[in-house]
């Protein structure tokens, strides 16, 4: 009888502890999330404080808030690192089938041809997806915080457009230098 129930053990190579791997990924993603929030709030608080005169807490005349992109920048560093670690994890899962035996021969001749790939890629892809979704949600949340708590007269127009332009130039620049 073919089992339909998918458990953690079905998402890692046979003999590896699925719960431990999953716990590791959840811990890494959660830490990245906490780091991202703390890092953003710290940077935002610093930029926000700079708008005011430190002695009487009045807005400095003509002062402009630091652009959103600069505050957001590097808050997702741990997410990027966690997402990057998913690649070695997937490679390790595949390599595991060559360790001490050639269980890859068994996995490659299973009638269910996706079982090998599910076991190698499922958790790394879930980790990667979780990182991506949380980065998007955090960015939206941070942007809302940025717009809501920054005095309107200090906001430069076109923040969202600037964000995408900078993100794109950083990505292209990163690729160029890579």
């Amino acid at each position: 009888m073919r089992s339909k129930k998918i458990t953690f053990e079905h998402l890692v190579p046979l003999g590896l502890d699925g719960r431990k791997t999953c716990l590791g990924i959840v811990t890494a993603v959660f830490s990245s999330w906490v780091f991202s929030i703390v890092s953003f709030l710290g940077r935002y608080y610093g930029a926000h404080s700079n708008l005011f005169d430190p002695w009487n807490m009045y807005l400095r005349p003509g002062v402009v808030m630091q652009p959103f992109f600069q505050i957001w920048d590097s808050t997702s560093f741990l997410f990027a690192l966690t997402a990057f670690c998913m690649l070695p994890l997937a490679l390790w899962h595949y390599y595991y089938h060559f360790r001490d035996s050639r269980s890859i021969y068994l996995m490659r001749r299973l009638p269910d041809r996706w079982d090998l790939w599910r076991r190698c890629l499922a958790l790394p892809l879930l980790g990667l997806t979780a990182c991506f979704v949380l980065v998007v949600l955090n960015t939206l949340l941070f942007y809302a915080v940025y717009c809501f708590f920054t005095p309107r007269q200090c906001l430069e127009p076109g923040q969202w457009r600037m964000f995408w332009e900078n993100l794109f130039s950083v990505s292209v620049g990163g690729l160029y230098y890579a």
């Binding site: 073919r2 089992s3 003999g15 001490d100 035996s101 269980s103 021969y105 068994l106 001749r109 009638p111």
Partner: protein
């Protein structure tokens, strides 16, 4: 019927031809010994049958190409071992049962018992002989019609191997076909029904053991004859060596 038609395998980038136009047919119930020197292409042929390697030519199972749809009809036991060392025999049974609908539970239990293999101990703690035994047990219990074995007894003692041949002959059903690659010619002579010889990727001999018996020839004689083995090769080499040493002194 397993049909291998004009199969060619070239390993890149060195362009080593491992199989060169191999043609072979394995009918249900046959026990075929696959013989040849190291590098003759025995392992490569078995891996091509299982689609573990890409190849040119055609390999069919009852007229259909071997794919994930009919791969369950072929099992594989290899000296490299294809089990998971961290798992127990019972965990392997559960995994095989999940994937192979014709799993032979009764045979599995009987063989584990016969070879006195513990069901609840991780395979990494088994001896090499026990690991080989378990590898073959898995291949026999998958419920496959075609059982491919690549040097399955490398590391087992002679008594153990004898036991295995006897057990195999006792439990195999008429529709089960075995393709056994081995160097142990004399041992499997009475076990196989047909001998296939490979040399540098080419099929150079294919004979039934019944024919050999009628010709009053042993399998070893047939192999030596087909390989054009020179019996005085060793003595000539030794003579040359001793001549060189005398000249040097």
């Amino acid at each position: 019927m397993l049909e291998i038609k004009n199969v060619q395998k070239i390993y890149y980038p060195k362009r080593n031809t491992a199989l060169d136009g191999v043609r072979l047919t394995a009918a249900p119930g046959e026990i075929i010994g696959l013989f040849g020197e190291n590098g003759a292409g025995k392992t490569t042929l078995l891996k091509c049958i299982l689609n573990l390697l890409s190849y040119q030519g055609e390999i069919t199972l009852d007229g259909e190409p071997v794919t994930h749809k009919n791969i369950e009809r072929i099992s594989f036991a290899t000296c490299e071992h294809s089990f998971f060392p961290n798992l127990t025999p019972n965990a392997h049974r559960d995994f095989y049962k999940m994937h192979f609908p014709h799993w032979r539970e009764k045979r599995f239990q009987a063989l584990l018992e016969f070879f006195e293999l513990p069901g609840n101990r991780a395979l990494r703690s088994f001896s090499t002989g026990q690991k080989n035994q378990f590898e073959v047990i898995l291949a026999l219990c998958q419920g496959a019609d075609y059982i491919l074995m690549d040097e399955p007894f490398a590391g087992n003692d002679v008594f153990n191997r004898e036991d295995f041949y006897k057990v195999l002959l006792g439990i195999l059903e008429p529709n089960e076909t075995i393709l056994l690659s081995t160097h142990l010619l004399e041992e499997v002579e009475h076990f196989v029904s047909r001998a296939v010889l490979l040399r540098t990727g080419k099929l150079i001999g294919d004979v039934s053991t019944l024919d050999l018996e009628e010709q009053n020839k042993s399998l070893m004689d047939y192999v030596k004859e087909t390989y054009r083995y020179e019996p005085d090769r060793v003595s000539r080499a030794l003579e040359r060596l001793t001549e060189d040493e005398e000249d040097a002194s």
